[in-house]
Amino acid sequence: MSDTAAGLLQIGLLVALLAAVYRPLGGYMARVYTSEKDTRVERGTYRLLGVDSKADQTWAVYARSIIAFSAVSMILLYLLQRLQSHLPLSLGLPNVEQGLAFNTAASFVANTNWQSYSPEQTMGHLVQFAGLAVQNFLSAAVGITVAIALIRGFSRSKTDRLGNFWVDLTRSVVRILLPIAVVGGLVLVAMGVVQNLSGGHEVATVVGQSQTLPGGPVASQEVIKELGTNGGGFYNANSAHPFENPNGLSNLFEIFLMLVIPVALTRTFGLMVKDKRQGYAILGVMATLWTAFTFAATLFEVNGAGTATRAAGAAMEGKETRFGEWASALFTTTTTGTSTGAVNAAHDSYTPLGGGTALFHMMLGEVTPGGVGAGLYGMLVLAVLAVFVAGLMVGRTPEYLKKKITAREMKLVSLYILTTPSLILIGSAVAMGLETARASIFNTGSPHGFSEVLYAFTSAGNNNGSAFGGLSANVPFYNTALGLVMLLSRFLPIVLVLALAGSFARQQPVPVNEGTLPTHKALFVTMLVGVVVIVTGLTYFPALTLGPLAEGL
């Protein structure tokens, strides 16, 4: 079979698998967040937490709960790293240094999983499974709760209540993330991923050398790393490491795990706003863009531009034999479109425009289909913007899902849309202005060096976590700057989205009339695709011309 035919079949199977679980999982999640009943485990949890599961919160209390929870999470994760050498299963590794511990704590709590460190040489098993992996569950759950709160903003009216964060959090973990992780983790072990507590196994090779093989509870972390769109590798090579991703089948399964919740949440959205077509429209926008980026990335990699790439005969630097170009490009598009940031190949070594496609895909704001929850709320904010733009064109008060978009809502949307690009562009500019920060660039003397810096801030600002790995990021400047960018770009938008949800929930629904813009039809899908590309394109175009476009054109 030709590479092209195999590559297309692989994409076809992925789409078929997602289509098969779309309705059942989307429907199940809608029931999870609308059910009045608590399970026994949940009732026990609420008793321990001291919360009344029937007491709904205002948007402000919901937001404060998230901030409080994320703050204590950060403190614990920081302390676990700082005290590592005194804890069991540290594998003899020292305490993590302050700047790195701050960066890593911020990174995992903000669902980014940017890693300035090499895990094999930095994090013992306990910090990984009792610290980092716990945040892989919890930061993902936080993302989903915010999306659900925004959906309730549309589906409820004349109320100031959006639900109870502690209930939504617990249900996200107990009913969705954990069951899938248990099954998916064992599937990964069956495919060859390791799951043990060994600190290393020494073997004597057939040529008389010695090699130490790493151990670790990898599968249990790998599964939630993909499912929760986190992306932090158990090992430095991430999903390129054969113990994390041993073959073509595990590779496709991991890609599926990254996409399954963000995709199915559009169904949940449609069901909860009682108009399934609205969910299909949002999914249509996400799928259109994801498909375009997948084929662009594949095309650029197969074409194999670059002097060194041409000399090698194919874009195989930084890629694994078992994946080749198609399965690597598919993974790359998915990881950059879901804010996961796991990698099965070295993005820094991609062709100029192939790597540029990954960079631009993150710049869209992680909405294609985006991180768990974050992708949906990000796209819904853009949908509100699209409706507003359409309203301006015809001179009507814009409405989305029967809620009026007034000055207050547009202020919140504007702030949301400005937050991340400001952080990315100002951060990149500051870094390029500082000699110490420029010194971290690995591929010097070409536009590729600037791409490394721009990629780092784009990844942090969109809570992605993948990297042009040549950049030496474990230095005080990047640990501090990227840590702050990750926190601000995660939690400012969350507060704005919750405020928006609160604002919509208070409104009385306006009746649909012939002047209402239908937001479930192809016209609106096209418009929203246009808004996503134009808003981000105009914002980042100057920066892209200095990096990947200068190198690739």
Binding site: A6, S118, E120, V203, S220, N247, S446, G469
Partner: protein, 215 residues
């Protein structure tokens, strides 16, 4: 305003208790239960798919190794400027791909060279010449995976084209029939799963272990 402070503290208290509960459930019970289940159900996989030759652990069939020996110069083992041994390909064995970490399994990494990096270009050209010399073929016949470092630095596999290139040299060095070596390569070749997932590849680690087991 005054009433807000107790409310915030209340959320902090709930947050702390929630984190404790979830850390025990997701950070202790979940990983340990998964480890137990994986060890019971898929013991070999869970422990790294270890390969044995003559009853001794020699490799994981998922993790690549270097099949090298110390170079000899003027009749003496060669060392570099820092006194570290200079390693060259051992012609008795099939060769894995170049690695950014010399197959140190405790430090997986890629080279991170950009596509236009001059150092990478030089390395590719140098590797192409070295492989062509070792195999006694024209440089244009050397496939891409033979001159590029993998994403993990631990890739155990090579393309069928690169394996085919090495067959006659390994047979000659070992005094084996070419057909026999070809058969071993075939035994260690994997196609795409279901015909379309992943790439066709030859596992050098298990192939070399098969060669070692012959003796």
């Amino acid at each position: 305003m005054a009433s807000r402070f107790p409310a915030t503290f209340r959320q902090l208290g709930v947050a702390t208790r929630a984190l404790a509960v979830f850390t025990i459930g997701l950070g202790v019970i979940y990983p340990l239960a998964m480890t137990g289940a994986a060890q019971a159900l898929f013991n070999d996989n869970a422990n790294g798919s270890i390969v044995q030759v003559h009853g001794k652990d020699v490799a994981s069939d998922l993790i690549g190794q270097a099949y090298t020996k110390q170079a000899v110069k003027d009749g003496k083992p060669e060392v570099d400027a820092d006194g570290a041994p200079v390693m060259v390909a051992d012609p008795l064995w099939f060769q894995t791909r170049p690695s950014a970490v010399d197959y140190d399994a405790m430090g997986s990494a890629a080279s991170q060279y950009g596509p236009n990096n001059a150092d990478l270009l030089a390395a590719v050209q140098e590797r192409r010449k070295a492989v062509a010399d070792l195999e006694g073929v024209d440089p244009s016949q050397v496939p891409p995976d033979a001159v590029t470092a993998s994403g993990s630095g631990l890739d155990p596999q090579i393309s069928p084209a690169y394996a085919a290139l090495q067959v006659s040299r390994v047979a000659r060095e070992r005094g084996l029939e070419v057909t026999m070596v070809k058969q071993l390569v075939k035994d260690n070749t994997q196609g795409r799963t279901f015909g379309f997932l992943g790439e066709p590849r030859v596992n050098v680690v298990t192939l070399n272990d098969d060669l070692a087991a012959l003796k």
